[in-house]
């Protein structure tokens, strides 16, 4: 049984069909990358999975159960966590707090226990802290130590991206949705992040669905690649299969005008 399954997922924005009958599966422990030109509907797919938008058609099921009608926080509690393309860290909270928030749905302590500081509160607080530090330690020493108590806006851009991933990890998901984790990073950082994504699967055992524009990242870690264009799936398979697919090239580079010679149709992108 696939971990995540989308069947005929559809979303309209007015006259625009952002996602058009998308069917996609993510198996446990698998990295699936979602590629496609700008406006292909990749982020909309993420928003549909995490419940930020209700789908207009089709269904998303997670571990065999439909996610239809669930609130975003309920979906997170089921085991899906995401990052955002435009960073959405809690700027005026410390690094540690940022990550501790993600443990919210794993906590049970209520108002009275918090006010009275009962032992149950102390225990849970210690557990949440431990989980948060564990998630942050994944990035070596970059986010721990004195950084724990630093306000998040003090972090560098790359560290904010890492913080977002750590925050998603602290939600204890089974599936991670990473929206362009390498956007705006330099080649060195991109390489490091690519390795990290591989480690997330191999060491932590997450299934990962991620959006990427950088083909080297896609090539580096993907078990499966899915290409979208205008909300439709145009190709899926291994990296090699997808990048040589004619419809993918067409989506990125456009169609040759007819009669301009078929011979050079095999032109590589770039």
């Amino acid at each position: 049984m696939p971990l995540l399954e989308m069947r005929g997922l559809t979303k309209h924005f007015g006259g625009l069909t952002a996602v058009d009958g998308l069917t996609l599966c993510v198996e446990p422990g698998e990295i699936v990358s979602l590629i496609g030109p700008n406006g292909a509907g990749k982020t909309t797919v993420f928003n549909l999975i995490t419940g930020l938008y209700p789908p207009d058609g089709g269904d998303v099921s997670f571990e065999g159960q439909s996610l239809a009608g669930l609130q975003p926080h309920q979906i997170t509690a089921r085991g899906i966590a995401r990052t955002f393309q435009t960073l959405r860290i809690f700027t005026n909270m410390t690094v540690l707090e940022n990550v501790m928030v993600a443990q919210h749905s794993r906590g049970r302590v209520g108002l009275m226990e918090s006010i009275l500081r009962l032992p149950s509160f102390r225990q849970e607080e210690a557990r949440i802290r431990g989980k948060a530090v564990e998630a942050l330690s994944f990035f070596d020493t970059r986010l721990v130590g004195f950084r724990l108590d630093q306000l998040a806006y003090r972090l560098s851009y790359a560290n904010r991206r890492r913080l977002e991933i750590a925050r998603a990890m602290a939600a204890e998901p089974k599936l991670l949705l990473l929206d362009e984790p390498t956007a705006g990073m330099n080649p060195h950082e991109t390489l490091e992040m690519t390795r990290m994504i591989g480690q997330l699967r191999d060491e932590k055992g997450y299934a990962i669905l991620f959006i990427a524009h950088d083909m080297q990242v896609v090539q580096g870690v993907s078990d499966q690649v899915v290409a979208l264009d205008h909300g439709c799936k145009v190709a899926e398979g291994s990296y090699e299969e997808v990048v040589h697919n004619e419809r993918v090239i067409e989506a990125y580079l456009g169609r040759r005008r007819s009669g301009e010679g078929q011979a050079s149709a095999e032109a590589e992108p770039r």
Partner: protein, 496 residues
């Protein structure tokens, strides 16, 4: 930090390495200021609160005037109210303009259940939990529209709710109930006349009657509310509130049930306000609609903003400053002392790097004043008053200051007209100071400061109620310009 960068640490996370080295260095040097600051920072807020409480509880030893004890009581109530508002507006970032309605709800609930109005005399320990429950419920109801509304829209809805509550208090004095054929309309809230003869609080066989008794009771509740707010702030719930304030959508996708937590914030804030209301009704022995008008709301928001939105100590200190300051202004001597003290401090503070310049500036203002005084009183003595010191002042510690003032300041006969003109002049002079740069600035500042002092003497000291509002405004404007995060708040970064 004059150490050269250690090139060996470059590449990995160079800045982090340097920061750690700097910390180690400061630690090793063991500078006293550093250690003290570290110790103060590491001290548990609850311990600090206990210290403050111990200090505050000795107040009745020094203050014997019952009026001053009553002022201390209302200061405590303001601290409670701003702590509660800080939960809604500070932690959760919800602009709740109906907050005062919960305050009035608590006060009127106590007044109705413990006064001759309906011949009910319920005990305090029964009313308090009831009020906490009912205000929390109303907070929940008011919070419900906030599920769909954000920012300004929420503010408008809650403001409407607050206004409705105020109107109800004013108009529920002649209610005609359908089907019940009463002889005369039912008087519930007493309308503008309010409810009087509210019972004192009986608690554990002891009746709280004196101003000092109420002071201690209020102090106890301030401590309780502080503890509740502090514990909530560093709990799972407090973190979730701050996450909602920072980015509601991200909080939601991180598993925070934003709907529930926003309602919780409204309820907690409302029940704190309700508790303060109960204490207020008993403390004042009466309740009137005018106790709960929009001015209170504005003052409460000023307190929270001045102290620093989202900071507990900020809420406490904001409430302290903005509730004590207006009381101090009641005495012209104290007000003068504060005004000139603040002026001198401001001048010295602004010319911190050029102390001589600051001193020269103050000397210039002094000389200008004396020169004006001597020449103008010699030329036109009929224009000016020569005020004598009041006997009470001449004997007090303020006497030297007042004598110096008489030598320096002009007191025109027509203080009103000339004071108004000087006010406009002062504004233009100070605006000019802001526009100019370099030496011109300092030169212009001399007449500017003198005119400001002149306006203060001729107009502002005479009308404390106007001055109070002006000082509120000036204080907030200065604060928002030079320290927008408030006294204790952390710097607010929207998005980088």
């Amino acid at each position: 930090m004059s150490t050269k960068p250690d090139w060996g640490q470059f590449g990995k996370d160079e800045w982090a390495a340097r920061e750690e080295a700097r910390l180690r260095e400061a630690e090793a040097a063991g500078r006293l200021s550093f250690r003290l600051r570290r110790a103060w920072k590491d001290m548990d807020s609850r311990l600090k609160m206990l210290l403050a409480l111990a200090l505050a509880s000795t107040l009745p030893l020094f203050v014997h005037n019952p009026y001053h004890m009553r002022v201390a009581g209302i200061v405590g109530l303001y601290i409670m109210l701003s702590l509660g508002l800080n939960v809604v507006a500070g932690f959760a970032g919800l602009l709740d303009l109906g907050y005062v309605a919960f305050y009035s709800l608590g006060a009127y609930a106590y007044a109705l259940l413990a006064s001759p109005q309906f011949h009910q005399h319920w005990p305090f320990w029964l009313i308090l939990p009831l009020v906490i429950f009912v205000t929390a419920l109303f907070g929940f109801l008011l919070g419900s529209p906030s599920m769909r509304l954000r920012g300004d829209y929420l503010a408008v809805v809650t403001l409407g709710f607050g206004q409705i509550a105020g109107l109800l208090l004013l108009n529920l004095d002649r209610v005609r109930l359908p089907f019940l054929h009463l002889e005369k309309p039912l008087n519930i809230t007493g309308g503008p006349n309010g409810i009087i003869n509210v019972d004192d609080i009986h608690i554990l066989g002891y009746t709280v009657e004196t101003a000092t008794g109420y002071y201690y009771l209020i102090l106890l509740f301030v401590a309780l509310v502080f503890l509740v707010v502090f514990h909530l702030d560093c709990s799972r719930i407090g973190r979730a509130w701050r996450a909602i304030r920072e980015d509601e959508l991200a909080a939601q996708t991180m598993g925070v049930d934003t709907r529930r937590l926003k309602l919780l914030a409204f309820s907690v804030g409302a029940s704190i306000a309700g508790t303060a209301g109960v204490l207020f009704a008993a403390w004042q022995g009466a309740v009137f609609p005018s106790n709960f008008d929009v001015t209170i709301l504005i003052i409460l928001y000023s307190m929270v903003v001045l102290g620093g939105v989202g900071s507990i100590w900020g809420a406490v200190s904001g409430a302290l400053i903005l509730s004590i300051l207006p009381e101090l202004l009641r005495s012209p001597e104290v007000a003068r002392l504060m005004f000139y003290g603040a002026l001198i401090l401001a001048v010295m503070g602004l010319s911190r790097r050029a102390k001589m310049r600051g001193l020269a500036l103050l000397g210039g203002v002094g000389v200008l004043g004396m020169a004006l005084k001597v020449t103008l009183t010699a030329l036109r003595p009929e224009w000016f008053l020569q005020p004598e010191l009041k006997l009470s002042v001449a004997r007090s510690t303020f006497a030297p200051l007042m004598r110096a003032l008489n030598w320096w300041m002009l007191f025109p006969r027509d203080s009103r007209g000339i004071g108004n003109a000087a006010f406009v002049l002062a504004l233009f002079l100070l605006l000019g100071v802001l526009r100019l740069k370099g030496t011109g600035q300092y030169v212009l500042l001399v007449p500017g400061l003198y005119t400001l002092a002149f306006v203060w003497e001729t107009r502002l000291v005479e009308e404390p109620s106007v001055t109070r509002m002006l000082i509120f405004g000036v204080l907030l404007v200065l604060m928002m310009n030079y320290r927008p995060q408030g006294l204790f708040g952390q710097r607010w970064v929207q998005r980088l």
